[in-house]
């Protein structure tokens, strides 16, 4: 059973516009939600996280929104830049002591000039 789903395998956005990446989860027992960015042949790089007790967290051009009733997480990037082109993974952590992360399948974001 897939606990975390990223339903869009790819997304193309024009430079300067807003990029919105989405993620759905099935379990209410997660305490932290994260976004990672991955370039080819490199490991995932941590971008931003949000606690389950919040609904928004902002860091520069990146904002993560959490809608617990809908079990939905989104990442907004504004303005989008060419260097943002990468694969983005959402990940969740179970609140009860387990340290492991459960990842979605990823969304490939392409920023067009």
């Amino acid at each position: 059973d897939q606990q975390v789903k990223q339903n869009s395998p790819s997304l193309s956005v024009q430079e300067g516009r807003i990029s919105i990446l989405n993620c759905d989860y099935t379990n209410s027992m997660f305490d932290y939600f994260l976004w990672y960015k991955k370039y080819p042949a490199e490991g995932p790089t941590f971008l931003i996280s949000i606690s389950s007790i919040k609904d928004k967290n902002e860091d520069g051009r990146f904002t993560v929104f959490l809608n617990k009733s809908a079990k939905h997480l989104s990442l907004h990037i504004v303005p989008s830049q060419p260097g943002d082109s990468a694969v983005y993974f959402c990940a969740v952590r179970h609140f009860q002591g387990a340290q492991k992360l459960v990842f979605g399948q990823g969304t490939r974001l392409t920023i067009n000039p």
Binding site: S51, F89, K100
Partner: protein, 115 residues
């Protein structure tokens, strides 16, 4: 500062051979994780260490997979009698164990190809 270092970056082995993959975590990081990433998928959890103690190995797919971290720093993931389905990128991550949430920081992975 130095990040998580993994070696080798690429490993090719024949089916049935044993392989060993190494991970050097960020200095001082107590927690260490191994993940397996198949092509086109997100990373999947294999095992977790806190210092030298292996606290969770629920993701190891079979008894052919074994991980150790004897001195609480460097870790080795060993796969015995490799099979073609073991072909994947193996990622190591480490995190601090401070107050509050500490994100996991990943190495660049070892790409394992089983022929």
């Amino acid at each position: 500062g130095a990040g998580v270092s993994q070696s080798p970056r690429y490993k090719v082995a024949k089916r049935g051979q044993d392989v060993a993959l190494r991970c050097d975590p960020i200095s001082g990081h107590v927690s260490l994780f191994w993940y397996q990433q198949a092509l086109g998928q997100g990373p999947e959890f294999l095992t977790y260490f806190q210092n030298e103690a292996q606290l969770d190995k629920s993701g190891l797919p079979s008894d052919r997979f074994f991980a150790e971290r004897p001195e609480g720093s460097v870790s080795t993931l060993k796969i015995q009698r490799t099979q073609q389905e073991d072909s994947a990128v193996y990622l190591c991550a480490s995190s601090d164990l401070g107050l509050g949430f500490q994100p996991q920081h990943f190495g660049d992975g070892t790409r394992l190809s089983i022929l």
